[in-house]
């Protein structure tokens, strides 16, 4: 028998549809300042910020297996870097946002040297402890306003509308860059290596994946993305304090979004972030109860359906809008449910 021609599928019908849908959504979002009102823009900036935080944490925990509970360190560092760059060093405040990511990444390198000594649960607590160290160091630095924090004054000369529209477009650019960046990274050979590490660390090592290096690249890259997002958040809020910037809530929101939406997929955080926003909008009047509800939901999902809401949908209808895996199918008649290839699934 002639060897069957194998074809590697990297797109799905849903992903082609998804690309069209994403383009339409993007057009709507880009034109929003022309027809939307400022409060919608502010909410969208907030939404994009949480979505990017979630995508970053998902890459870290869902793909690289680095379950950090200390990502608030990079939100805070990014926020403070924005204020130091824009107010103290006179850099353009909007340009300071990506630069703040570089500052966060620079802090991530020595941090990794410490926390990479831990594994599993102790890695989680270790990252949390280091985030506290950064919070306390900043809270004890007079130039950074100690415990009461700082206000971003560099944007005051700008007209309110200019500031809001520019912040909105910046957020949009960050959101698209994060989504495309994570997608391209996961589809690259490094992404394949990363998924191999997730599935079996010793196995991937014997196949020539540099486990330490790959994890380090992801950790520092995610710190960059988280730092940029932290700067974006405080460009929107204009005021930062150590307790707010380094609040564990950033990580709690992120984790609930990813876990409920679906860990280890790109679609999951989108669904999770949308759900998180809905719950918060409708229940925040009831004080802390929305966090109790989201926490319970996250624990329930983890127990009963660890793939999250998106995992449920993807499995039921075999839908993948952002396929990062590779499927092997027989040419020329790809079956309706091709065999799962490497790097597929969670």
């Amino acid at each position: 028998m002639e060897p069957a021609a194998l074809r590697i599928e990297r797109t799905t019908r849903a992903s082609r549809l998804g690309a069209v849908g994403a383009a339409l959504v993007l057009i709507a979002l880009v034109s929003l300042p022309a027809w939307g009102d400022p409060s919608t823009m502010r909410i969208l900036v907030e939404f994009i910020a949480l979505l990017v935080l979630a995508q970053m944490w998902n890459l870290l925990a869902g793909y690289a297996g680095l379950v950090s509970i200390g990502q608030q360190a990079y939100v805070g560092l990014g926020g403070y870097a924005l204020i130091v760059l824009a107010d103290d060093l006179g850099v353009n405040p909007f340009l300071s946002v990506p630069l703040a990511g570089l500052v966060a990444a620079a802090f991530a390198l020595p941090t990794a040297a410490l926390v990479f000594r831990f594994h599993g649960g102790y890695f989680a607590v270790g990252t949390w402890a280091i985030a506290e160290v950064y919070r306390l160091l900043i809270a004890n630095t007079p130039a950074l306003g100690r415990g009461s924090g700082r206000t971003l004054t560099a944007v005051f000369p700008l007209a309110r509308e200019t500031r809001e529209v520019t912040t909105y477009f910046l957020a949009l650019a960050i959101g698209v860059a994060a989504l495309v960046g994570v997608y391209v990274f996961l589809r690259s050979r490094y992404g394949l290596g990363l998924m191999a590490i997730r599935d079996s660390e010793p196995g991937s090592e014997t196949l020539g994946v540099d486990v330490f290096r790959t994890k380090l690249v992801v950790y520092v890259g995610v710190a960059f993305g988280t730092g940029v997002t932290g700067a974006l958040i405080y460009l929107n809020l204009l005021r930062i304090s150590p307790d707010a910037g380094f609040s564990i809530n950033w990580t709690a929101y992120t984790i609930f979004i990813v876990v409920i939406g679906g860990l280890g997929s790109l679609e999951g955080p989108l669904i999770g972030a949308a759900l998180f926003f809905l719950v918060r909008e409708y229940l925040s009047d009831y004080g802390a109860s929305y966090m109790i509800l989201l926490g319970t939901l996250a624990v329930g999902v983890m127990l009963a359906y660890p793939q999250g809401l998106w995992g449920m949908v993807a499995e039921r209808w075999d839908l993948r809008f952002f396929p990062v895996g590779r499927r092997v199918s027989l040419d020329p008649s790809p079956g309706p449910s091709p065999q799962r290839g490497e790097g597929e699934g969670a």
């Binding site: 410490l114 160290v133 983890m302 127990l303």
Partner: protein, 290 residues
């Protein structure tokens, strides 16, 4: 002399930290998971003691008679109903579920008891002190805390080294699968370990509430101090946690004396220094408990 006094106070504070650390270390030793709600559960115990004091008018020390079994029962239920269902699913689910509990407990405490800070008042003993001569004095209460911590550690050591349940703990700690093949019921054993851990955490929480004020959000710091004491002392070493607690306590009191606001930070920095210079901890016993 003032410095000797500071170090002495720090040493006694270490007794409290060792109490927090022991429960964390026990759970990690037996089932290799880290309970991220550890600190919040201790604060829950302190609030339970507040409720008992307010309804029954008991002395805070006596509330332990109720709070310890309650927390132990909660621990057993938590393990049997929730955490055991996550066994064999990798490192991620236990971390995320216990973190979820941490957030749930904090917000539930906030809803129930408001954001006000509370304190347990045992009626004078918390301020009484014992003169050691030469201008040195130690508080009775910190001394009692350290003594209780040592007693609990001795008791735990005896259980682990002498009793059959301790043998089972050590066996699962070494090799879960083989222990199971030898007829050990891991699930029930884990339930017992969690019950023991939360029983000790209840003591720690009530003692914390007598020593200082606490709020719904005091939990995470307790988890971090416990974790740091465990790492400084060396993973898996019960007595190491006592030393780790003492090192952390001394670092915090010395730091606070140098500059207010630097107390907790100095503790964290000493922890990082140990991590950098002696990552296996001061008394490492690789992958074992006891």
């Amino acid at each position: 002399m003032a410095w000797v006094d500071t170090i002495l106070q720090g040493l006694l504070l270490g007794g409290l930290y060792a109490l927090f650390a022991t429960g964390l270390s026990l759970i990690f030793g037996v089932m290799r998971i880290v309970n991220l709600a550890h600190g919040d559960l201790s604060i829950l115990a302190a609030f339970l003691a507040v409720v008992v004091v307010e309804t029954l008018g008991l002395n805070p020390f006596l509330t332990l008679i109720l709070v310890v079994p309650l927390m132990a029962g909660l621990g057993y239920a938590l393990q049997m109903l929730v955490l055991n269902r996550l066994l064999g699913r990798g490192i991620l689910p236990p971390i995320l579920v216990t973190f979820g509990f941490s957030v749930i407990i904090q917000n539930a405490l906030l809803e129930t008891f408001s954001a006000d800070s509370r304190r347990l008042n045992p009626g004078g003993i918390e301020t009484a002190s014992l003169s050691l001569g030469g201008g040195l004095a130690i508080g009775w209460f910190p001394f009692i805390t350290l003594a209780v911590a040592v007693l609990i550690l001795v008791g735990l050591q005896l259980v682990i080294s002498r009793r059959s349940v301790g043998r089972a703990f050590r066996a699962t700690s070494d090799d879960q699968e083989t222990a199971e093949l030898m007829g050990i019921d891991n699930r029930r054993l884990y339930g017992l370990a969690m019950a023991l851990s939360l029983g000790i955490v209840a003591v720690a929480g009530v003692f914390l509430g007598i020593r200082t004020t606490f709020t719904f959000s005091s939990g995470p710091d307790r988890l971090l101090f416990a974790f740091e004491a465990v790492i400084i002392g060396g993973l898996g070493s019960l007595w190491g946690t006592l030393v780790g607690g003492a090192v952390l306590g001394i670092a915090q009191t010395v730091g606070a004396k140098l500059s207010p606001g630097w107390g907790i930070l100095t503790g964290h920095l000493v922890f990082l220094a140990v991590l950098l210079l002696r990552p296996q901890g001061l008394f490492a016993k690789a992958r074992r408990i006891g």
